[in-house]
């Protein structure tokens, strides 16, 4: 009879305790790997907030600040870009496309983004995923709007509904553009990016709602009706930022330098990937804290394993002494216990991995639709497998503590076997 079979039969004899210990380890492994998946998923989702855009151009400011307001709609621009500069850049031979963005207004806490219809073609996220419409279509009329999935869900909006945009953050009295309401022409599919929380209108519409406004307030005595505005020249004078696609990626750095040294006005061009990476490193402390927590979970599980083995050791003292009297060396006794802890941890790790994939299959669509967190279901990575191997190794070595105690007690017990 092999030592492994003896260990397995002994484990089977204590199957309730063994299964509970194994389940404890499995849950810890699942939790650890889930946190890892979420951590990498969050990082990837974050890094994939915008893709396919070579440069983001805004008024002179820091990289992260420009990224925050142009992509994440957090904070405000220190200054705007003139329409002339935008046109000048758009006319450069290196530029394939340029999508202007105008920020400033809001609707019930959601930011309003003035842009062109090209935005819906050119904006890419994840690995080149484009925007698609859950319902309706892009804006066509001057007062059409396309809302993100979160806006539609949070405010319960449907196609055709009319909404009123507030000036700025919309907290001041009478700060609503209620004379020029918008009609929802389209609702975007969920993307897991800030697009979901945006209300998109045309650049001309931004101009239109501000024709009778100055310095953040209505011009007293002036009220231009929506229908009259349609006949006015609504070419924008300034913009907040622009997304740029270049004909050749090789030219990116050269073109970035050109923009940064632009003579007509002080501008900043950033590479979205680099800026996202810089921004992520700012929140890296939280990521590391999450990693530390998941590591603690594993350490606790292995301590639990040692505790269980030590707790059952006393009742197994007789079993050890019987084996010893039949010729087992104290080393064999120690090996038996180590094999046992190794088997429990291995089974726990395999079960934990299976649980993880079960959870992923169930929760992936939910996480994607509810939180915009896209977790890829793919085979365990080398990092996952290395972690699992280390956990099994640690669990096996943890068995050395009770093994050492069993070694000592089996020497002391000799042939006087306790019943």
């Amino acid at each position: 009879m092999s030592l492994l079979r003896l260990a397995l039969l002994s484990l089977w004899n204590r199957r309730v305790t063994a299964i509970l210990t194994m389940v404890g380890i499995a849950l810890s492994v699942t939790l650890f790997l889930s946190v890892e998946k979420l951590r990498t998923g969050a990082r990837e989702s974050f890094a994939n907030t915008i893709s396919g855009t070579d440069l983001i151009i805004g008024a002179r400011s820091g990289d992260v600040q420009l990224l925050l307001y142009s992509v994440f709609r957090i904070g405000n621009a220190t200054n705007n870009i003139t329409w002339e500069s935008h046109q000048d850049i758009a006319d450069r031979p290196e530029v394939d496309w340029i999508v202007p963005i105008s920020l400033g207004d809001s609707h019930r806490g959601f930011r309003v983004v003035g842009t062109t219809t090209e935005f819906f073609d050119k904006y890419r996220y994840r690995r080149n995923d484009g925007l698609s419409f859950a319902e309706g279509q892009r804006f066509d009329d001057l007062f059409d709007t396309v809302i993100g999935a979160d806006v539609a869900e949070a405010l319960g909006y449907a196609l055709g509904e009319r909404i009123v945009v507030s000036h700025g953050t919309g907290t001041g009295r009478g700060a609503e553009h209620d004379d020029k309401p918008f009609q929802i022409s389209g609702i975007l599919e969920k993307t897991g990016t800030p697009i979901d929380r945006a209300i998109h209108v045309s650049l001309e519409a931004i101009e239109a709602i501000h024709v009778d406004w100055q310095g953040g307030a209505r011009i007293e005595g002036l009220s231009i009706a929506a229908e009259r505005v349609r006949n006015m020249d609504l070419k924008p004078k300034t913009l907040t930022a622009a997304l740029v696609g270049l004909k050749s990626r090789i030219a990116t750095f050269r073109f970035q330098r050109f923009v940064n040294e632009y003579e007509e006005e002080p501008l900043t061009a950033i590479l979205p990937g680099v800026a996202l990476s810089n921004l992520w490193s700012l929140v890296g402390v939280a990521e590391r804290a999450l990693g530390a927590v998941s590591l603690m979970v594993i350490v606790t599980a292995i301590l639990g394993l040692v505790t269980t083995l030590l707790a059952t050791l006393e009742e197994r003292r007789r079993e050890m002494a019987i084996l010893r009297a039949n010729g087992a060396s104290p080393r064999t006794i120690a090996a038996l216990l180590t094999a046992e802890s190794g088997l429990i941890t291995l089974a726990g790790a395999i079960l934990g991995l299976a649980l993880l994939y079960g959870l992923l299959f169930v929760l992936q669509p939910l996480l994607d639709s509810q939180f915009g967190l896209y977790l890829k279901i793919e085979p365990p990575t080398v990092r996952d497998l290395t972690t699992l191997a280390l956990i099994v190794l640690a669990g096996t070595f943890a068995g050395l503590i009770p093994a050492w105690r069993a070694y000592r007690s089996s020497l002391a017990d000799g042939m006087s076997i306790r019943s």
Partner: protein, 232 residues
């Protein structure tokens, strides 16, 4: 196993548990195939004597020759290996692993002794034969030992000691849990099997009435000197 050496030869042995309890043995021999009964009361140094003979505790001086090898001079894995090769042990409380089948219990010593494994090959057949010879129904071979009756468990324990024909069978009060009729029947079976294998039997007991089937009866007091430190 060899006939040229005594099965057990103890010379000038001393042993002490932390200075509180010590025993000394000048000379004690058991010949190959001999059946010796060691009579002694509880607390008379019986367990320490068996631990010394089985090589589980080393003496502070002297030699314990088992089948020609001084087991007192062996250490670690060598001592364990030699013990596994040379001894079959029957305990007072049977000491079977209750969750293992009757046959798997019998097979345990073969896991730790190459020589006995070789002598008992094929192992399962040997275990089946021994269990059958000791009166265990073949239907019970795969039954967990914990579900067998007291008498059946004692016979399984005897089969475990006998498998692979070790040179020495040590038996520590093996019949104390059995009634008289069962004890006699068990000893008859044991003698028969030991006789067939040519093993020496050293049985410790406090029951003089069992002495009939032994070649020699030795009183523990006659060979072992026990001293205890007085408690203040």
């Amino acid at each position: 196993m060899t006939d040229t050496h005594p099965a057990i030869a103890i010379r000038n042995v001393a042993f002490s548990w932390d200075g509180d309890f010590s025993i000394e043995i000048d000379t004690f021999d058991v010949a190959p195939g001999e059946r010796v009964m060691l009579l002694g009361p509880s607390g008379g140094g019986k367990s320490t004597f068996l631990n010394l003979v089985a090589g589980i505790v080393p003496p502070s001086r002297g030699s314990i020759d088992i089948l020609g090898t001084d087991i007192a001079a062996l250490r670690g894995a060598k001592a364990d290996g030699y013990r596994a090769d040379s001894f079959g042990i029957v305990f007072q409380q049977f000491n079977l692993l209750p969750w293992l089948s009757a046959r798997d219990n019998v097979l345990i010593p073969l896991r730790f002794s190459k020589q006995r494994r070789k002598r008992a090959a094929p192992a399962k057949d040997s275990a089946n034969r021994l269990l059958g010879a000791l009166g265990i129904d073949s239907a019970l071979f795969r039954t967990p030992a914990g579900r067998l009756s007291v008498g059946q468990q004692q016979r399984v324990a005897a089969a475990r000691a006998l498998i692979g024909s070790p040179g020495v069978i040590l038996a520590d009060e093996p019949t104390s849990a059995l009634d008289r009729a069962m004890a006699d029947a068990f000893l008859d079976l044991l003698y028969g099997e030991i006789g067939g294998a040519g093993s020496a039997l050293l049985m410790v007991s406090h029951d003089e009435t069992l002495a009939g089937g032994f070649d020699r009866v030795v009183r523990l007091d006659d060979i072992v000197r026990v001293s205890r430190r007085a408690i203040a």
